[in-house]
Amino acid sequence: MILGLLLFTAVLLFIVLSGYKAYRYARMPLHGRMELYPVPAEKGRHQYGGSYMEEPEWWRKPRQTSKTSELIEMLKEMLFIKKLFQHQRSLWWISYAFHLGIYFMIAWTLLLLAGALTDLAGISVSAHASLWTGLLYYLTIFTGVVGFIITTAGAALLLLRRVADPVLKKYTTPQEYFNLLLLLAVLLSGIIVWSPDLTFEASRQLTAGVLLLDVTANTALTIHLLLLAVMFIYIPLSKMGHYVGKYFSFHKVLWENEPNVPGSLMESRVKSSLSSHISNGGKAADR
């Protein structure tokens, strides 16, 4: 019961704290324009880094933007970490393994959830009962095995690189080592607990137990679940919560090139920002 509640609370806190972080960033004052080109929403110009300002009297012409282009670029960043791939390939292999592994782990968790609900509905998840249970059965195995392997290998290699590379080592704080060690602890304890049964039937049963708030756990499982709960609560409080930050740094800073033209939404934001703006410093103004 307690473990089940703890996991529920941890996941809830993960969502609430991530949301709060996003809320805090969203509530910050309107900042000055800081776009950097290429800006993907620039229709027809994005490929070479152009903007609407290439047009004479651009403010008289309708803005040509493409949400699809922005979405594609966003997906390239989210799914493939494009910038790291382009600019630091050696680190990308490790980082990508780790991040792809996380996506697999998320998929595995969702499949466990679907399997647990299927079980609770009285349909046993097995290889051959039906297409649905067969899919759940095999996909859970695939995502779980691949997820655990590449996430753990990625996290371990990221840690190793940080220790072995003199430049990274110089800039890494104890907290940043802690972040990787915490993830590794969760992953390794998970491997210890779940690896004896690679069909993940026990994991599915546990998920069903969590849903019913009825979890029985041995010492190893208890340690794993406690670490998992700590990780869920800690991630949004640390820089590992960069899934929030990255949205703002790309969409609200680097790719935000909305001009302040009469009648626009930006104009009303500027208007309200200027009326509430607190001036910074100003000692230099008259010196």
């Binding site: 960033y25 910050m28 004052p29 900042h31 000055g32 324009r33 800081m34 776009e35 950097l36 080109y37 290429p38 110009r45 070479y48 880094g49 152009g50 903007s51 300002m53 290439e54 004479p56 009297e57 403010w59 970490i81 910038k83 600019h87 630091q88 980082s95 430049v167 990274l168 110089k170 800039y171 704080t173 907290q175 940043e176 820089k239 960069h242 930050g245 990255k246 703002f248 740094s249 609200k252 800073v253 090139n257 302040n260 033209v261 009469p262 104009e267 500027v270 208007k271 920002s273 200027l274 703006h277 607190i278 001036s279 910074n280 410093g281 100003g282 000692k283 230099a284 103004a285 010196r287």
Partner: protein, 536 residues
């Protein structure tokens, strides 16, 4: 003195006479790969050490920060700095808070940004210039003084730095070892921006401590607010210069061109970097020739703050930036023009077109645009006729960061060059990936006791190497003129400096200038070459 590779952010306050030595700078390509092709670094004079903070790398950009006479003074400087730091990361710094906070919080220290930085690479990968070095010092100081928690927690978060006068003075200097070109931000997998830290340190120094390089503040912003121009040109002198330009145009091309001044209700108010009138009058003259020939309805303004587009405030002080931008806008409004067009000045493009875009709204605002799309419009509509054979020599294009990476004006200037310059070739890399000239964010005009040396040998080194590569097919053929087209005053000033420093004009006939001069040189309506080096 430390070996660059051993240097750590927490060492910034060490009592060494000088933290690092610039002794392994990046080698240049042929023909500058031979010994004796460039002057050596000059040693630091003892009197400079008394007067300036030379203890970072033996160069000084800030010439107004006195060494404290006693402990009390040192304490006061530290307090002012910390107060400014606290403000920088607060709501009162709303214009930058969100991007700054993101960069404070989420840097993964993956070090992807280092290879993007021309200063770091040109220094021979010296640790001091690594983009995250400066940011990490900033973060450590902030975490140490403004994050609640025990000493153990501070150690956990890496807040392991001691703050003394040396730390602050060196950090101030270090903020002037970044051109604010934002090339590093373009490569960051998390979309973060190390240049923000450099800019914020400069702001703390100016806005809280009253310290800024003389060239930027006293002889820049203050002079501009007082006389109308950072060159010190007042209204009367400006009008004389315009008269001189008209005579000069007649001498050069045998045609009388009337330069419109203070024409109320004109379509275009053209604002130049006033430095052009002093250093490169052929540039505003070329604008006048082109606009006159195309029959454009335009004017210059003689109103104080209406004839100099510069705004140094965007490099070091938001308060000053806003004052200047608003007064420039006022001057345009008085004239009742329909739009403001910025001439060949990159930072003025950004200041008026981007930074000031959110300074005002409604009727207070007159639309601002770059001269480049207008020129391309005149070319493609054939309102100007060219004979490209007049420019039949190698031409390469420098992309000013402010216009290109930070405004997305990439293609029109290339389209113009394709029409007027048959031997046009790109630099590598170019467009939004191009390297800064090395003079960005004030470097072009800061000289300090020996800052020109840092500019020529380090910050502009990558640009010089790019120029050598772009002309590698003819670089040793001194009879072939080679033209670096740099449509920005600061970039032009920097390129002038490196061509002199490396004697590249004298030895290899590498010339430089703007875009409009090259356009005028190719006009079919003009018989004589407009570019002076073609007459020599």
């Amino acid at each position: 003195m430390m070996q660059g590779k051993d240097l750590r952010p927490r060492d910034l306050g060490r009592p060494d006479e000088q933290l690092i030595q610039l002794d392994h700078i990046m080698p240049l390509h042929s023909p500058y790969d031979q010994p004796g092709m460039e002057p050596d670094l000059q040693s630091v004079k003892p009197e400079w050490r008394e007067k300036y903070c030379m203890s970072l790398d033996g160069c000084a950009a800030i010439d107004t920060f006195p060494r404290p006479a006693n402990e009390q003074e040192e304490k006061e400087w530290i307090e002012k700095f910390l107060k400014g730091l606290e403000k920088a990361v607060s709501e009162s710094n709303g214009g930058v808070l969100q991007p700054l906070q993101l960069s404070m919080e989420y840097c993964a220290k993956c070090n992807t940004c280092s290879d993007a930085c021309h200063i770091y690479k040109a220094s021979g990968d010296n640790e001091l210039y690594r983009p995250i070095f400066r940011s990490d010092v900033f973060r450590k100081i902030y975490n140490k003084y403004f994050h609640r928690g025990s000493k153990l927690y501070q150690k956990f978060t890496g807040a392991d730095i001691d703050v003394n006068w040396e730390t602050i003075a060196r950090l101030g200097e270090l903020s002037y070892r970044c051109n604010l070109c934002r090339r590093c931000a373009q490569t960051c997998p998390l979309g973060l921006d190390n240049s923000l830290f450099a800019k914020e340190i400069r702001k703390i120094f100016s806005q809280e401590m009253g310290i800024a390089p003389t060239a930027l503040h006293e002889k820049g912003t203050m002079l501009q607010l007082k006389t109308g121009s950072s060159t010190g040109i007042g209204k009367a002198a400006f009008l004389d210069m315009v008269e001189f330009l008209e005579e000069d145009i007649e001498d050069r091309i045998g045609r009388s061109v009337k330069i419109p001044i203070d024409k109320e209700g004109a379509d275009i108010l053209l604002i130049h970097n006033a430095g052009e009138f002093v250093a490169w009058p052929e540039n505003p003259a070329a604008f006048a020739i082109l606009l006159d020939e195309a029959g454009v309805d335009w004017t210059l303004s003689s109103e104080v703050m209406g004839y100099d587009s510069v705004n140094y405030g965007i490099w070091y002080d938001d308060t000053q930036a806003k004052r200047i931008a608003q007064q420039q806008m006022d001057a345009a409004r008085k004239l009742g023009v329909k739009r403001i067009v910025i001439g060949e000045c990159g930072h003025a493009h950004k200041a008026a077109g981007i930074t000031a875009d959110r300074y005002s709204w409604g009727d207070d605002k007159i639309p601002v645009e770059s001269f480049i799309p207008i020129m391309w419009d005149l070319v493609r509509s054939k309102r100007l006729q060219f004979d490209p054979q007049k420019n039949n020599f190698p031409v390469t294009l420098h992309d000013p960061c402010n216009m290109v990476r930070q405004m997305g004006i990439v293609q029109p200037q290339r389209e113009i060059l394709k029409v007027i310059a048959p031997q046009f070739r790109e630099m590598t890399p170019h467009g939004t990936d191009n390297y800064c000239c090395g003079g960005g964010s004030g470097f072009a005009i800061i000289n300090g006791p020996n800052f020109a040396q840092f500019r020529n040998k380090v910050s502009a080194r990558m640009k010089f190497d790019q120029i050598l590569n772009a002309f590698s097919d003819t670089i040793t053929e001194s009879l072939v003129p080679k033209y670096v087209c740099a449509p920005c005053s600061n970039c032009k000033g920097t390129i002038r400096g490196i061509l002199e420093h490396y004697q590249a004009t004298e030895r290899f006939n590498v010339q430089y200038g703007g875009l409009v001069e090259l356009m005028v040189n190719a006009l079919t309506s003009i018989d004589k070459p407009y570019l002076e080096f073609l007459n020599e």
